[in-house]
Symmetry: D3
């Protein structure tokens, strides 16, 4: 049985290999990427047995996604579907002033029809943490119900619930997100949220410390983590605020950094670390993720330890 169970969509991730524009592309690099599986992989890498639940089309593309995730070491529990598409997304990487662009092609996917009864509730109730993100309920009204059911089942089973707010403007409006996601808040123990989303979607004001405090007190979360990209993160727990700086990186791929952070934070909390220590490992894992192509934090515990303690040498031989 896994200690962490996550639920959500993982897409086929297509990107021009050398920074070409999509409108001129001749070749795609193919990987899998999705917030909830990214979190599961990061947690597994830091020692937490993890399972990803999803609904995936019974097609070569669906198998492709699941195969990659199994290769990363996590368990998967899949509701294979004969209806619905495999979601894909396209990434056009670029630096300043163009910026990386993501194009979603994730309508009418198999997962959009996923209901709670298609999964084994025992998996969730026997886990120590259940995790999903604000992307999942943004995908369909069915998934809003499913997310609610799963959070409820987790709570009933005594499983800690963790949730990354993850607002995606390409999926829904700030109003819809606010209305839907705040309804889940009473069932959530650990909330991870970008400072940007706390302001733009939830309407909070103040510096990140204040955001963490206001969120924590208003909704009675056990833990709140407010992330600020390259400026680090704030952890709020038992009414105490902890600040964590980001490590300096030579960034290869930014996408998935937040998921690496969250997966590591959960893993270290499950391993018994206090919040400041877990934040430190989370920041180290996020920093390592940025040196790795793709969405996923293919790190080892030793590497994370090395970053936390000293930073690695330039060439080790």
């Amino acid at each position: 049985m896994s200690d962490l169970v996550t639920f959500g969509e993982t897409m086929l991730r297509l990107s021009p290999p050398n920074g070409e524009r999509l409108e001129d592309v001749r070749e795609f690099e193919v990987l899998a990427g999705g917030a909830e599986s990214n979190v599961a992989v990061a947690a597994q890498r830091l020692g937490t047995p993890s399972t990803w639940l999803s609904k995936v089309p019974e097609s070569p593309l669906g198998k492709r996604v699941v195969s990659e995730l199994r290769g990363y070491g996590i368990e998967t529990d899949i509701a294979w579907s004969h209806r619905g598409r495999q979601g894909t997304y396209y990434i056009e990487r670029a630096g300043k002033p163009r910026g990386t662009k993501v194009i979603y092609d994730r309508d009418d996917t198999a997962i959009a029809t996923a209901e709670a009864r298609e999964f084994d509730v025992d998996r969730i109730q026997n886990a120590r943490v259940f995790f999903t993100t604000g992307i999942t309920p943004a995908l369909s009204s069915t998934l809003r119900d499913t997310t609610a059911s799963m959070l409820k089942a987790a709570r009933q089973g005594g499983t800690t619930t963790a949730f990354d707010f993850n607002y995606r403007q390409k999926l829904w409006s700030t109003e819809e997100a606010n209305e839907t996601l705040t309804k889940f808040f009473p069932g959530i123990d650990v909330l991870v949220i970008a400072a940007r989303d706390a302001r733009a979607v939830l309407g909070f004001e103040g510096d990140p410390r204040q955001l963490a405090h206001k969120l924590g007190s208003q909704y009675d979360f056990e833990t709140v983590v407010v992330t600020r990209g390259s400026e680090g993160a704030i952890g709020w727990h038992d009414s105490v605020v902890h600040e964590q700086e980001a490590y300096e990186t030579d960034t290869v791929s930014k996408i998935g950094t937040g998921d690496a952070f969250t997966g590591a934070f959960i893993a270290r909390r499950l391993a018994g670390d206090d919040v400041p220590t877990a934040l430190e490992y989370a920041a180290a894992t996020a920093a390592l993720k940025r040196t790795i192509p793709g969405d996923v934090a293919l790190v080892s515990e030793e590497e994370v330890e090395a970053v936390v303690s000293t930073g690695a040498e330039e060439v080790s031989r």
Copy 2:
């Protein structure tokens, strides 16, 4: 003004570059492919100015498709859309006994909503031939109406109408195809149809010569071409049947062979060739297509001439 105008969907065509299985793919080769644009390119290559009409999403993926087709030398007249997906398809190439497999991901595309009024009817009425295939009305009920309108407009403008039956079992049943497509027959001058489809969808019987004759007499077509893959083709015109063998090839990619055949046939007919001569050039173009990766017949008139007259040398230097 183009002599040939075609209308239909062109998809982004994704295939593992070295014969890998889709469920294990790490890289996709990216090209564009669609029956109606394939025909336009083949005709253009044989000297017929050609234009492809379509409705395409105003997105990098839509631009990608149009850019490739323009590069092949044809004109494009695009209804750019802010709604609807860019269709894609996946090809898994394999020899015996596995066989090449195609997976369509073409639901909810921009073109499914294309109406005749979104295009300039003059383009069609000023052309000498208007061409589409049985794939187009299979994509949506809107496109059934649009196909009907365009065929009617062509007829009214004195433009010859050419139609490739192109039954696709992954898009609709034989019953639906039969019912829909036979309704178009009175408005069609030149019909291209696989012997297999004439039998399985239209219920005709007999050898290919008989199929051609029955089709031609029953529906009052001006010309009927019955294709038989590597066994050649039959042309029926003015109640006379002409037989054309296929040329021997070292096949690299079979997909698009029929479109190369049809495009060349139309081009040579427009250039004044009689049916047997046009069939010969069509067969030569189809043979050359099979030596070319991708969907499209990137041939030159000289190459086609060389195949018709002698076959090319092994190494020319």
Copy 3:
């Protein structure tokens, strides 16, 4: 619990991607390959839950191998080692008259030190079939003992033992192989052996039917399968000989064909098929394998069924 458990070495498989010579290579395609994991994957693909046991260095290269195998869908049970190399092999593919060449670099590997006590004997005893090959005891004297122990444990637990003779001239002499492997024979229920090895290593004579019969009677196997490459295979069971032809293929990669055959044979026998039916599915799986790059039979049950019943269409769309 898995129905099939296999034990053996899987190597990192490096090959020039486009048929370049090794002495001129600039790029390697990287995959994993090993007889026992190949068999496990093939069996899993045909519906038998399978686990591969091995000893692998705790290094990025070792993880690379295990990750790929997990991605193919089997379970793995690994004795991670801090000593010993990850075996690699180099493949130089070529047609006539050069022929494909394999260079092993598999001395001093982690697995060469693997002892039976490093693995959970319950896994073997709770499985329905335990499988290994003549490669494993060729790798070290420790592995000879380990192979013997595992076969004995399987027999004690009531697990059927299956063994592919797999003589490798680059690992040992025919004399050593004969002496070592025939000692295992009394503990083996199902023997798979190439006709070539039966003659050159074991000194049997006669046509393949005779070889099967002589082997079966002399050593009291339950089942003997004599393989003959593109000429098919012979199954001997309950003193009855069954002949199976090979399917015609467009071969992309020959390596792993025998393992695909064996894995499918085991899976179908476990599913209750009689020997002739299992041979037919085995031949179909082997034929499909030859259309797939790499060592591993990434097939589906439906594809195997399709080959058995009719052979697949050339292009399915």
Copy 4:
């Protein structure tokens, strides 16, 4: 009819894909590049219908170049030639202290023999701007005459003439360039020139503002743009000098930056912008170009607008 017509050579552009040295290269990335077609593409992207005139060999290599340019969306009007080579150039990209190196292989090209009468003068006279660069007359004495004829024809037809000085030390000496190009100046309305060339070739002195002013007054240009690479540009118009800074970029490929700048400047001037606004869009287009591999500014108007107004987000999803 196009608003902008450009004339010049476009070469096949061969470069090692991953920064390898030319003397060790095993693979070339193949693209097309030439100042005048680069300018046409950039202008087209900012909304100005553009045509590129050239003389190109009737060969697969010549077709390769034209095909790529058509794919970028511009019109082409080609004098196809049965004599003369297709020019090529080799790029060896490197950072400090090595620096990117360009090797030209552009002797005896088809375009070197291009005469004005091979092109339709109406295209030039019906355009709103005719553009060429100092590279064209450097290629042959025939092209000096052709450039002169075309500039004269444009002037006679009331078409604005724009010219990028573009001194290339690998093509001719500063003396030859000075003597030839200053003769064209009376026929030129808009001059673009690098500060470096104004000093080294024309012998002007002073800061860029002074260079612009001196050039403008001495030769009676309507507009002068003095470019300074990453330090921005100076525009002089109606005796007023306007300064434009360069935007900060993560540079992928520097080559073609100046052409992107010039194409955008022309497009925005044609769209009615005043000089300072056109310079701002030109700088934004140039900045975006630097994030794009290859010679050509594959940008959209929206992206340029976004840079002008705010700079883009890091990841948009």
Copy 5:
């Protein structure tokens, strides 16, 4: 000192890696190829120390060519030039009915200006065989003189002269070739010529045995080899004719087959083999070459021996 010295042009060889058409190419595979260096490499591989003489531009492209040849194991003696281009050629591979096409871009090369005095005559006179081909004098009138001088020097030094007729229709007419090359015949000991060239250029008639005999007697050669592609070769020596069949191959690249044949023939003759034996090794080397990408026969003596004695196994492991 090398036993074999060859003189001629080696070009940069650019080809689309996966059979794409040149007009659609995005990537080139880069290799070096030239008849005389191909012959030197093949001879070296069969044990004859060999040196290739040439004149090459002192540029990264020139160094690229020489570096590759040195890597293949031969010695090089280069007249580095500051004038003249590096010749290139483009290969578009295709099967029937298109056929492989070669486009030369070899005008104005450095080697076209090579004079005999630029090379050390001792190298030629101390060798046992001097070799060049009919391509060299086709490149420039200077090279006609140089070829004549070198052949004369070889003869004076007692070095055997070997010459491959190698008529190239893209370089000169049959009349020019006939006139030029027959003048060299009195200075040549060993002539290699395709049956096709003996007929089309020299006007001989008859079957290949008759061609060999007529050539040998008319021009007083010591040895004549008439090649017939996949139909084998005829050797004429001391008025005796020897026939050699070609080995069956799975062909990857045909180009360079003849050079492999000739290089091996020379090497084996130098090693003391009689003509029939040398022809057998030559045919085996040519067969192996066809399994190797690129122009060059990267074979080993063992491999050639294996083909001569038995043909190799399908998979050796």
Copy 6:
């Protein structure tokens, strides 16, 4: 005869081409790399004829390594072996905070058994400089003796001995290295050592100037060079200390920088430069190396001159 002779191991160097993790790699870039051959190539590039001595397996992998080195222009003198592996190493490139990692797979190599008598002592005694590094004696006890013999032979022949300390923690402990390498010191004329190694292995203290001075005086070296990575180097000669800064670079590959430095230093000293000038050229060569993928400094003398005098332009065309 070469002026510089080096002796040591060169490995096959396998690295994921685009920064992928080794545990997820699908493709390896293949190159050769080894300190002593790197030094030979760098020296050759700066005009010193150089030969690399080694013992290499007579296998395609061994030939692969030697072929690449010959291509770079140096001579090779190889003891071909039928026993022992070809060493390989794996590089996982990464920036901060992960850092580049090297995994050696160099046990039981052919070179580990190399004895001095397998090489021609005249090569060493006729050279002007003999060079090896502290890696060689770390590989086996046989190689400790061989290193000692060669250094002794060089000294006897009047050949200057140069030695790069090159401590590798993955090969031996600081104690073993200290004990072994200091024994060689009396036979060494020119020592190159990283400041880090002087401290950690030899136990010296002080700033780099002090380290150089202490080393030089204590062991009676003729010249000592203390390297400090991106902080430059210190040269000590005739009791005088010279300081050299590193040039600023856009680094593509750090590995081999020190070898480029050393090779250039030796070449310039052999060309007659004084120590400060040689250090300047060494620093320039090292800076250029960092812009080049792979281990080897594929530079030209002109490029080094250009860096020493001015630094190169950004784009030269």
